[in-house]
């Protein structure tokens, strides 16, 4: 029973693997960065299926052939090892690891640079967007365009985007699976991540690193647009969106969620969290916000605030306590 079972399982695994992969977001890349990663993943998948099959087949043979049937003619308890065999199964993995190392290292280096877009008239100069995580929302600044958004970004298609990542508080991870892999955003530091979209469309992005209570909902939408649509949106935002005052921005530092927001100026004018790690803590204190144990009465009384534009700048976050 065990041997046939393992064989069955291995076949089922391969079948599931091959049938299910097409629609999985990571293996459905929409830009050159995600594509390089997806190619690397497929390469590794083929090697790994090969290794798994070799082991499964060998195990099956051993179990069928050498199970105790009362009289085992081929029973030989004196075998201690075989240098030849052991040499073979040391060398083969070394070869496989080497074969996998080369494209891995090449891709690691390649991801550090702006991806090349093959379109003829594509703009190769990357668009810079600062992405800042603040419990539990994403704040995006376009310094060149002088605009800022919360929980969504619009990007032009066929153009590399350079994300400069940082965090106002807990360590987050910026991830848009269909456009490319993630990178950490840490306060007091700045990490850089290149992404690009070659198709117009909407992509889900999120924080992938646990940041506490509101982590699951710390998501954002990426909309890849044509150049014209993007420029139009930038212009309209510059003209129509309200500008972001520091007082409004302080309220974004308070833990809680936010709906999508748009501003015609950026917070980089008064703070860059990559150089000012404690800014958010100071501003919270100024607003009267205090962190409480979730098991204390204060902690239980406190609800995640949901901010919507415009922010009520008079509001402070002192938690009301029932004295009862």
């Amino acid at each position: 029973m065990p041997s046939s079972f393992f064989k069955w399982i291995s076949l089922a695994m391969v079948a599931v693997f091959l049938s299910g992969c097409g629609s999985l977001t990571v293996l459905d890349p929409q830009g050159p960065v995600a594509e390089q990663q997806s190619d690397l993943i497929w390469l590794s998948i083929w090697f790994m299926i090969f290794i798994v099959l070799v082991v499964f087949v060998l195990l099956t043979i051993m179990l069928v052939k050498y199970r105790d049937r009362g009289n085992n003619d081929n029973y030989d308890p004196t075998i201690e090892g075989s240098h030849k065999l052991e040499f073979i199964w040391t060398i083969i993995p070394i070869v496989i690891v080497t074969i996998l190392s080369i494209p891995t290292v090449m891709t690691i280096y390649s991801l550090e640079e702006a991806p090349e877009i093959e379109e003829v008239d594509a703009q190769q100069e990357p668009l810079v967007i600062h992405a800042t995580s603040a419990n539990w929302k994403w704040i995006f600044s376009y310094p060149e365009q002088g605009i800022e958004t919360v929980n969504y970004i619009n990007i032009p298609e066929d153009r590399p985007i350079l994300f400069k990542l940082t965090s106002a508080d807990a360590m987050a991870s910026f991830w848009v699976p269909q456009l490319g892999g993630q990178k950490y955003a840490m306060s007091g530091m700045e990490t850089e991540l290149y992404l690009a979209a070659t198709e117009v469309g909407q992509y889900e992005g999120r924080n992938a690193n646990f940041t506490g209570e509101g982590f699951a909902e710390q998501r954002f939408t990426v909309t890849a647009q044509t150049d014209e649509a993007f420029d139009e949106w930038v212009e309209e935002t510059q003209e129509n969106a309200p500008s972001l005052s520091e007082e409004e921005y302080m309220h974004l530092m308070v833990p809680g969620h936010s709906e999508e927001m748009t501003f015609s100026s950026t917070h980089l004018e008064f703070v860059n969290h990559a150089y000012d790690a404690t800014y958010s803590l100071e501003k919270r204190a100024e607003l009267g916000y205090e962190a409480h144990s979730p098991h204390s009465r204060e902690g239980k009384a406190f609800d995640l605030p949901l901010l919507t534009q415009p922010i009520d700048t008079d509001k402070t976050y002192e938690v009301e306590l029932d004295d009862e």
Binding site: I41, Y66, E86, A216, A277, L281
Partner: protein, 649 residues
């Protein structure tokens, strides 16, 4: 901060209420039962104060099984919450606390103690020793582990559990973002049990180096003993890092230092580095003994020598070395330079080479054997394909450029469960069943045991295999809910079914312990499996406290098998000599208890009780320094009587 009574005890949640009631009820039942049956003295003399490595081992295993239950209940709650989109079974905060305790408990309070328990029972027997090198220290190690475990567990009902993940990354774990006492419990509970683990590591190194019986050179040691030896070396090298990191964390939490916080130029990545410099070798602390257990079992039930013994030893040495060179792969995405990521990618992938050698050596141990499919053997054979799946996905994760896509997703969750469950949990079950007759004098029921194996193995694959695809579909780990539009419902639901199958198998396993105790035939031979190594050379059911009446002499690797082939009977001669053995100790449990009160007081910043407990610990240490009691002799008459009884049984 002023503490209110109704905040000291966690209230307002039905699960916690159930936990509180069950803890109180169990405690009352235990106290009443011990009093009613007049067992206090028995428990104190035979278990609490014991220095007998086998009994300490059994206590470790009992605690580990209890923690497997607790961690398993955590897992069931998480899987229930994730079974469908936007369920309201657990709140976000509850979920965070539960996955945090699930991870911490399974690694620190289940996997490690289970294996340390098996090591305790088996290693001295395997090397023909009478006890560990430092029996008092062994008792103390157990009790510090026990109280560390107790401290960590009561956080659930008193004060609130930690909720920053088992990795407790800063700055999330700092007071600014994790207010309350949860993180204090984390820092102090792990610290307390970590002290015990470090001491255990030292104890086993000395035991294995100094106390092997005549003729047992290092290269004649059973494979399990080898893995324990290497594991102990890893413990001694890795645990001090954790000790220091946790001490720094404690200072940040309680005394306002800024090692890792946002303020005062604290470095959050310093915590991540320190944590994983311990944390990665930790993976091998729970994997290498598992490899040892499988080696013993596969060789026994294939009725053959282990294939390529030398290569097996070499590969664990190489693995242990590499285990210290790969920690950065836990944060490939933190923006290291390409050179750093490339280096750690390659060293990580390199681990697959010695691991592959081991897999093929196990496969060829089966070659030309006479394989008996007993339940320990089933677990060992089931380990191979499942671990290979976990291993190859580990190689995929090691490729940094690809890891940017799977990092922090269910792909990772699935990978490490494939590795840890297939290696550690399978080996714990295998080892427990295999050595069960040595501890309790009877086997576990094979028919039920095989059902447990199949239900668990299938449930395990049903639970975790879909998670690879969830990861590739972009589902991050540690989210407590997801939306219908994410498209993760079907796979999550299947996964939850698998989790409940594993829970059913665990329940059946526990039932099997009861069933076997009632109905299984007692083992009179001491060698129920036709074993190969020295532990089978002495009688069953916790061998006499001195282990061997005559010290065995070893000339071959599979020493007992060799004796059986040559017709040597260790117990033939009745010409005994008195044996020197260590005394029981009340100091170990008492000292550990004061460490517990000190830690508990520190959790709540109660300085005066903390200081008093600290003084009490020092008094115990001073007392110990002036304790010149060096044991006693077991008289020849007692040995004669014990051995006669063992033969008659």
């Amino acid at each position: 901060m002023p503490l209110r009574w109704d905040e000291f005890i966690v209230t307002g949640d039905p699960f916690i209420l159930v936990a509180q009631i069950s803890i109180v009820l169990t405690s009352i039942i235990a106290v009443v039962a011990l009093t009613y049956f007049k067992k206090w003295k028995y428990v104190w003399n035979n278990w609490v104060t014991t220095v007998d490595h086998k009994k300490i081992g059994i206590m470790y295993i009992a605690c580990a099984l209890l923690m497997l239950f607790r961690g398993g209940v955590d897992a069931m709650m998480m899987r229930t919450q994730l079974a469908a989109p936007e369920l309201d079974f657990l709140s976000g905060q509850n979920y965070n606390e539960i996955f945090t305790t699930h991870g911490t408990i399974m690694i620190i309070f289940m996997a490690m103690p289970f294996l340390i328990g098996l090591m305790n029972v088996v290693v001295p027997l395997q090397i023909g020793a009478r006890d560990l090198a430092f029996p008092f220290l062994n008792n103390l190690s157990f009790w510090t582990f026990f109280f560390g475990m107790a401290l960590f567990n009561i956080s659930f009902i008193i004060g609130g559990s930690p909720s920053a993940g088992w990795t407790s990354y800063f700055p999330l774990a700092s007071n600014d973002f994790s207010p309350g006492v949860g993180q204090n419990y984390y820092a102090l509970g792990i610290q307390l049990s970590g002290i015990g683990t470090l001491a255990t590591g030292i104890n086993f190194i000395v035991t294995i180096l100094r106390m092997r019986t005549k003729g047992m050179s290092l290269m004649k040691m059973p494979m399990f003993t080898w893995t324990v030896f290497i594991t102990s070396l890893i413990i001694v090298l890795a645990f001090p890092v954790l000790t220091v990191a946790l001490a720094m964390m404690t200072f940040d939490l309680l005394f306002g230092t800024h090692f890792f916080t946002l303020q005062g130029e604290g470095l959050d990545m310093l915590w991540a580095n320190l944590f994983w410099i311990w944390g990665h070798p930790e993976v091998y602390i729970v994997a290498l003994p598992a490899f040892g257990i499988f080696s013993e079992i596969i060789s026994t039930f294939a009725r053959k020598k282990l294939f390529g013994y030398n290569a097996m030893v070499a590969s664990i040495v190489v693995i242990s070395g590499l285990s210290f060179l790969v920690w950065v792969h836990h944060f490939f995405t933190m923006g290291n330079s390409a050179a750093v990521n490339s280096f750690f990618s390659i060293t990580t992938m390199a681990i697959s080479v010695p691991t592959g050698v081991k897999i093929f050596n196990w496969l060829f141990t089966l070659h030309k054997g006479k394989i008996r499919f007993t339940s320990p053997m089933l677990w060992s054979l089931g380990f191979i394909p499942n671990f290979v799946v976990g291993g190859v996905t580990g190689v995929m994760l090691a490729m940094a450029a690809a890891d940017y896509q799977y990092h922090n997703t269910y792909f990772l969750v699935s990978h490490f469960h494939y590795v840890l469950i297939a290696a550690t949990v399978f080996s714990c079950f295998a080892g427990l069943i295999y050595w069960y007759p040595k501890m309790f004098g009877h086997r576990m029921n094979e028919r039920i045991g095989k059902w447990v194996f199949w239900i668990f193995m299938i449930g395990f694959n049903v639970c975790f295999f879909p998670q690879y695809f969830l990861g590739l579909d972009g589902m991050p780990r540690r989210i407590y809910t997801y939306l219908e539009g994410d498209g993760w419902f079907t796979l999550n639901f299947i996964s939850t079914i698998g989790a409940f199958m594993m829970a059913a198998a665990f329940a059946l396993f526990v039932y099997n312990i009861y069933y076997s105790w009632r109905y299984e035939k007692r083992d009179t031979t001491g060698d129920p499996w036709d074993g190969r190594t020295l532990e089978w050379a002495t009688s069953s059911a916790i061998p006499p406290h001195y282990n061997f009446a005559h010290q065995p002499e070893v000339s071959e690797r599979d020493a007992f098998w060799d004796m059986k082939e040559k017709g040597i009977d260790l117990n033939a001669s009745t010409d005994y000599e008195k044996i020197h053995m260590p005394n029981n100790t009340w100091l170990g449990p008492v000292m550990a208890f004061f460490m517990f009160t000190a830690s508990f007081a520190l959790v709540f910043s109660w300085w005066i009780p903390a200081i008093l407990s600290g003084v009490a610990i020092f008094v115990c240490m001073i007392f110990r320094s002036f304790d010149y009691n060096d044991g006693y002799y077991v008289s020849v008459e007692e040995i004669e009587e014990t051995e006669k009884k063992a033969k008659e049984a």
